[in-house]
């Protein structure tokens, strides 16, 4: 049945579609691929991570040519499942799974976050900007504390310290990727503490952060997809993680017959796998010199002049 069209399936991670970031972004890539290429697609939202193994097997047996799993925790399972279906390709994120027919994609979130941190640091003491106070404090709100999230935090912090050693990064976690009310309260507490820019890496919880940033007239930084439009003018920028591009890219390679074994993709700044948005709504708030400075930093990272710590790297 190889001949009758290419079939691609995507398994979402816990939280499923509608997170306005990770899974949704991957889904966009899938949709875009479907529009441009002659493929059949399917999205599966499992009950929990354990169901993943079942689906990986079921989908492979159902003749899917490429199975993309958005769930990080499927790495272990894939090591067992993938070798069983040599004709099927699998894709996984955030880790390298050393099996020939698995494509591993590891984003350079730390690099993008470094830029976000640098921008926040440049802004936070410039009281000529109306929403900024003189405190050297910027905020970070994560969903559930985990290494995956702390990878963002560490990059962000390093970016900020790169600009000014005295910048303090105030950190908060909501213990949920879907509790906007809590996001709002944490943001409120940080803002009262003198924070005027908050980087939110918290899925649906982040929506509450944006809401509060708008109320209290400070800035927020979005994540994963371009969230700038959610609160135009309040969301300074978003740290884009182009899951959509990578997925599109993988599918394209597959369709073109170019998908090779043992592929490891590391989309970072250099590959445009991560980046800041074009800041459509906030460009005018940011002094041009800062934007220039940011561009320099970006080039330095790409040229390896600046080394950003990746806490998840081995």
């Amino acid at each position: 049945d190889e001949k009758d069209g290419i079939k691609v399936a995507m398994i979402t991670s816990q939280g499923g579609l509608g997170d306005k970031s990770w899974n949704d972004s991957g889904y966009q890539g899938l949709v875009k691929a479907k529009e441009g290429m002659d493929i059949e697609t399917k999205v599966i939202e499992p009950k929990d991570a354990a169901e993943g193994e079942k689906f990986l097997n079921d989908l492979a047996q159902a003749g899917y040519d490429l199975i993309i799993t958005m769930e990080y925790a499927h790495g272990d399972v894939l090591k067992e499942v993938a070798p069983k279906y040599k004709d099927t390709h699998f894709a996984i994120f955030n880790q390298v799974v050393d099996v020939p027919n698995v494509v591993s994609v590891v984003f350079g979130e730390h690099e993008g976050s470094f830029l976000a941190g640098a921008l926040a640091a440049l802004m936070t003491t410039d009281t000529s900007i109306s929403r900024i106070n003189s405190d050297k404090k910027i905020g970070f709100i994560g969903g559930i504390q985990s290494p995956g999230i702390d990878k963002f935090l560490v990059g962000y912090r390093e970016g900020a310290k790169y600009i000014d050693k005295d910048i303090q990064v105030v950190v908060g976690y909501a213990n949920s990727f879907g509790d906007p009310n809590k996001g709002k309260e944490i943001a409120s507490s940080q803002i009262n503490n003198g924070v005027d820019i908050i980087y939110s890496v918290a899925g649906g919880t982040g929506i509450g952060v944006f809401e509060e940033a708008e109320n209290k007239n400070v800035y927020a930084i979005g994540v994963d997809t371009d969230q700038d439009y959610l609160k135009p003018g309040t969301i300074l920028t978003s740290m884009l993680k182009r899951v959509d591009l990578s997925i599109y890219e993988i599918i394209k390679q597959l369709v073109d017959g170019k998908l090779q074994n043992n592929t490891v993709m590391t989309p970072a700044l250099a590959q445009k796998g991560v980046s800041l948005t074009e800041m459509k709504y906030t460009k005018d708030d940011i002094p041009a010199k800062y934007l220039e400075r940011l561009e320099e930093i970006k080039q330095d990272i790409i040229n390896n002049k600046i080394k950003v710590t990746d806490i998840t790297a081995k």
């Binding site: 816990q14 499923g16 399917k42 599966i44 939202e45 499992p46 009950k47 929990d48 991570a49 354990a50 169901e51 193994e53 079942k54 689906f55 079921d58 989908l59 159902a62 990080y72 925790a73 790495g75 272990d76 994120f93 955030n94 880790q95 590891v106 559930i144 504390q145 985990s146 290494p147 995956g148 213990n175 998840t312 081995k314």
Partner: protein, 344 residues
Amino acid sequence: MMKKIFKFNIMKFIIPILLAFLVGSIILLISNINPISAFYNLFIGAFGSGRAFLSTLYYATPLILTGTATAIAFKANLFYMGVEGALYIGGFCSSLAGIYFHGLPPYIHIPIALLIGMITGGLFAMIPGILKGILDVNEMVTSIMLNYVAILGTTYLASFPFKAKDAGFSATEMVEKSAVIPKIFDSSMVHYGLFLSLIFAILIYIMFKKSTFGYDIESMGKNVNFSESCGMQTAKKTIYIITLSGALGGLAGAMEVLGTYKRFIAGFSSGLGWDGLTISLLSNNNPIGVIFSSIFFGGLYSGGAQMELLADVPRTIISVIQGLIIFFLAVDFTVKRFKKIKSR
């Protein structure tokens, strides 16, 4: 004898399921999904083939334990709702035993790791147990509170002190090969823990029916004052009962970790403890009933997955239909509803 074990007759399950399907069909029709194909896939995915049934059993394995765990406490009229928390604690601690004990043969390593899961789950449950037994603090409140503590605590531990170096997510290292509970068949995820679950359910059933402790549990559930007057030492027994319940919860967690995930993953349980609670209540706190209800729930999940895969039913509707079925199961349609007022 058989008749007594299968006290719940088959109509008790069929009527609610039919009603749930009726209402479910309406919802599916509204959303332009063919209900026949959807339910066909639900059934086929649950019981339609050997593979499907194995998958059902896979889902049922932890539920049998969490259901039995809840049954122990609920039968004694103790509203201990902390099985979910004990599951996390037991799961986490057994993963450590799986990781840090080296060079043991499987027949020693697995039991030790499981035992550690049980013991730690039980110790964790002892907190609400002691608070209830000695200070008469409401066990429902404390156990729900401690669930949060357990989940948050293990998340922290798996994210930082014990995080696996190569994992891109919050999880411990993989357990040693010798600690992995083997699968029964290569083609299915169901592992030998299933038999352990069944054995425990049956043991607890026998304990309920035959032992003095089971007698104490039954009578505490029906009349605490009487139990105390008969010298059952209800305070002490409360601690035993809740601890035992937590130990089984811990065992369920340990089995999930050693059999399914092979490492502890933060937040791995999608409410296994809560499902166990529902199952226990549906089975009238009878462990044999728990086995059957768990298989039914397993079928619901396995079939739900199949529905999603083959009938293109979105996950959101699947949980609506699963909710509906539970709704109707809560009601005993076989009871004649005559108006009777008890005099006492």
